[in-house]
Symmetry: C2
Subunit: 126 residues, 2 copies
């Protein structure tokens, strides 16, 4: 399939696909006329990339997952490098959550000072 079809099937833009290729995440055979040719495997690679991006991973983070898939594994996350990225990402998310909770408390405190009774309910506590 050519780039337009892959883009439609994967739900991404052709621009994004060329960018992924430029970043070395995917590759493409070329037809005689220079058009990129993709297979079903590429669709899985792109899908993996998109689902990782969707949960806050960067393209750099996605690299080991793609490599893992290309190495023949059924899941992109079943290689040691991918697991390491998972754990690094979890730690990072936890850091961000902590930072946000701290910031929320600070902002709420300032708001309380400026306008007692203005603060709403706390996140995650309905």
């Amino acid at each position: 399939m050519r780039i337009g079809e892959l883009a439609r099937r994967a739900g991404v833009s052709t621009r994004a696909l060329r960018y992924y290729e430029q970043q070395g995440l995917i590759t493409a055979r070329r037809s005689a006329n220079g058009y990129r040719e993709y297979g079903e495997t590429d669709l899985r690679l792109v899908s993996e990339i998109r689902s990782l991006l969707a949960v806050g991973f960067t393209l750099e983070d996605a690299r080991p997952f793609v490599a893992c898939l290309r190495a023949g594994h059924a899941s992109g996350g079943s290689c040691p490098e991918s697991v390491a990225v998972y754990q690094r990402k979890l730690a990072q998310i936890d850091d961000e959550i902590r930072a946000l909770l701290t910031r929320r408390a600070e902002v709420a405190a300032q708001l309380t000072t400026a306008c007692p009774g203005c603060v709403l309910r706390k996140a995650g506590k309905p």
Copy 2:
């Protein structure tokens, strides 16, 4: 005082001060030689900006706070527009926290699938 002294006292770069001016957040009188001249009030404005930036506000968010201070109020947060920004920011932080918690769960679930027993403790639960 000139820009260098204000920068030192406020703990910011001169570049930042010029940027704030360019964005219309602060203004400066000019000496005969063209140098910017600041007063103590400006120090308070910049301090307000910095403390807001420190908790995740944008310069755009800081605008009503600065206006509030310039209007003569003791606190930048004691004007209705500032309170509105506070509340908008709190809601936004809550959204981000919720999004992060969701993402954390998703990532943890995927990691569990790929590597049972690899997931560490949950954020905020020691």
